[in-house]
């Protein structure tokens, strides 16, 4: 009985450790940014064509991507990048909410706010080498 109990405890601990380790990992940053770029372009297209449902879907996806972006920067002692990611995520949430309520003017305004945060972060942390990009701390 005691042995069975110990075994259960070990299994639970292993599952918890695995889950925690998985949560700590994140995708390579270039993959996250490529997804952001493609989703952002799709969002703009859907906003311009008044496709509210599709725009809301894109904005919701962006929220997740900016959460990933924030997780990338969080351990790197770069508070500004974390804040840009947070504000971009909030902007995407505002786009999603506005698109769901069919307020495309408000959605476009929130889109511009989100885009501004992207631009500011790129200005501070992205270096164009001509062949690709480098991530500045």
């Amino acid at each position: 009985m005691k042995r069975q109990f110990a075994l259960i405890i070990i299994v639970i601990a292993a599952v918890c450790a695995g889950t925690f380790a998985f949560a700590q990992q994140h995708r390579p940053y270039n993959e996250i940014m490529k997804d952001v770029g493609a989703t952002f372009a799709s969002l703009k297209k859907n906003l311009d064509s008044n496709s509210a449902a599709a725009a809301a879907e894109d904005a919701a996806k962006l929220q997740g991507l900016f959460t990933e972006t924030e997780a990338f920067w969080a351990p790197l002692n770069t508070g500004d990048a974390v804040n840009y990611a947070k504000r971009a995520r909030d902007g995407a949430a505002a786009v999603a909410a506005a698109a769901k309520s069919n307020d495309m003017t408000k959605a476009l305004a929130s889109y511009a706010v989100t885009q501004k945060n992207c631009g500011n972060c790129h200005l501070a942390h992205r270096e164009d080498t001509g062949k690709g990009f480098l991530i500045r701390p």
């Binding site: 994140h26 270039n30 002692n77 770069t78 480098l134 500045r136």
Partner: protein, 190 residues
Amino acid sequence: MRRLIISTLILLLTSIEVHAQAAADSPEQKLAEEWIKRLNALDDWYLSVDGKEGGIEPLVDSMMELYSPDVVAEVPPHDKDQIGPVMLRGKENVRKWADRIARSQVRLNYILKRQTEGPTGEYEGWRLVYSTKLPWGGSAIAFQIIGVWSSREDRRRFTAPGAVFIQYGPDGKIRRLRLLLGEIDQVVPL
């Protein structure tokens, strides 16, 4: 008469240029510029796509190549609680200082201050490096700087006027360094 004036002007301008070139090419000037260059390079590293800090060690190594193992360095305070300069003894302690700069500061832009003879010539002209031979061997240089850097953590940008005093041993390695920075101001956009 006109030819004489033009010839004199050309001669004068040429001699100024030659003089400036000589000042810029002096060994002392090169030593000062090399120190500034390696200090400014400490932020020249990147993050990998999986969030790893890469390339700091070679930059710190490059800075430390200039120092003698028994170097004594007086540098500005590291943290808010420290009042007055910090005295670092030995290359390892100076290395920790350089490593700390590399990891905590970005957009480093230390420059040698320029000067001309006139009373307002503070922002153009020559980058003056003062030098002397040391009585116990080796040489020393001193120069004015303007330090500009940003905090990596929150991107706040700072500037400070300062001066650098460096003593070299006969082997050409830095034996003593004194980096003075005064009136550190945060740069705030208008």
